[in-house]
């Protein structure tokens, strides 16, 4: 582990990784013992590693898996997640996009004119909050790691997305009664460390990548950051943690968070009259029915 100038044996690496997550939770005041946490679980290394640690800590952590309907990839992701939950006796909620909204993520993206990763991100955010509210959870925990956050930061800086920069944080606080707090307990640890943790804990996670992520901009940003990291260990950490320490407080002080109100159709918090998820599903459904009616 070059960025820490340290080399650990397996037991000490596991201890180190879990301590980093524990430190993230406590120093950022993500949640307190006894709170009901909904863990967003894709079946990949990060989310399963996170769920494993929360369960080991004794947190009240229920998994939420969204079946996106991406053929073999979604089937394998769901199987790994269900097997993980079964083996540990953990509670798991599974939501099928196709069953709930009549469309898989590919159809939803195509029908709404969004890129698949954009439609996926929007759907997940919406469902995480909705299910957390419905189930009286106080926080949604996601497996975003240091690499994810550094790549998002790079993308936001390259395009000067000031609103998004002001909101990028390990804890997205509840700024509306219908908005559940979102937390990222892996923000201190790298993607490589998550994979090593999952491997050493014997977690059987999905290795294959989502077929829609090929060519995604986030992968390019990660590649650039990894090259910098190879040349100078600790670059990603200095980049993201430095942002959190120095720039994020300045940006947050620049103005209040956006005013949220309930969506006119689904009651979820939004900045618009109708939320982006309702608009996306309506547009995709309209296109689907127009196609069906044009068939001979």
């Amino acid at each position: 582990m070059r960025r820490h100038r340290a080399a650990y044996c397996a037991p000490h690496f596991l201890e180190f990784f879990e301590a980093q997550v524990h430190r993230a939770i406590t120093t950022q005041r993500m949640f307190r013992p006894g709170e009901r946490i909904l863990v967003a679980v894709s079946g990949g290394k990060d989310s399963l590693a996170l769920w494993e640690i929360l369960l080991r800590r004794g947190d009240d952590a229920t998994g939420l898996h969204v079946d996106l309907g991406i053929d073999d990839y979604s089937q394998e992701s769901r199987e790994r997640t269900e097997e993980f939950a079964r083996a540990r006796g953990a509670r798991l909620i599974v939501v099928e996009l196709r069953a709930e909204y009549g469309m898989d993520i590919g159809t939803l993206a195509e029908g709404s004119g969004r890129a698949p990763c954009s439609a996926c991100g929007l759907s997940k955010r919406y469902l995480f909050n909705k299910l957390a509210r419905d189930g009286d959870f106080t926080a949604v925990a996601t497996g975003h790691n240091l690499d994810d956050e550094a790549a998002v930061l790079l993308g936001n800086l390259l395009h000067w997305n000031m609103d998004q920069l002001a909101r990028q944080a390990p804890v997205l606080e509840q700024t509306h009664p219908h908005l559940v707090r979102r937390v990222k307990p892996l923000y201190r640890t790298s993607e490589r460390e998550s994979a090593a943790y999952a491997l050493l804990r014997g977690i059987d996670y999905v290795i294959e990548e989502c077929p829609h992520s090929r060519g995604a901009r986030s992968l390019l940003h990660k590649d650039v950051l990894n090259r910098l990291e190879a040349a100078s260990a600790g670059t990603k950490q200095a980049f993201y943690w430095g942002f959190l320490d120095r720039l994020a407080p300045v940006l947050r002080a620049g103005g209040p968070p956006p005013v949220l109100r309930p969506c006119g159709q689904c009651d979820q918090p939004t900045t618009e009259e109708v939320c982006a998820f309702c608009r996306m599903t309506a547009r995709a459904a309209a296109r689907q029915s127009a196609r069906a009616s044009s068939l001979p």
């Binding site: 975003h144 790549a151 609103d163 908005l179 490589r192 090593a196 992520s213 990894n226 956006p258 979820q268």
Partner: protein, 86 residues
């Protein structure tokens, strides 16, 4: 160039499993993990090298008859920076 990786065909070099797409290679001769990654043009930060259930460090050595997996660790990942649920 005798050490160049080639598709596995049942001889006795180091067998390597790669992903994205899944494929198998074989290389001959004893060498360090870091050297294999460099030879294959792979970013050291972006992969784990695994033998059996063991995670190999960059200075570990592998040789003939070893079977290793070079597993990518990079995920595409959607972002989570929106201010509201949707």
């Amino acid at each position: 160039m005798g050490r160049r990786a080639r598709p596995a065909e049942g001889s006795c070099g180091v067998k390597i499993r790669l992903h994205h797409p899944r494929r198998d290679l074989e290389i001959s001769g004893r060498r360090r993990v870091s050297g294999i990654l460099t030879e294959l043009g792979l970013d050291h930060e972006a992969f784990l090298v695994i033998r059996g259930d063991a995670l190999l460090t960059s200075d570990s050595e592998v040789g003939d008859l070893d079977e290793i997996e070079i597993r990518p660790v990079i995920s595409g990942g959607t972002t989570d920076e929106a201010p509201c649920a949707a």
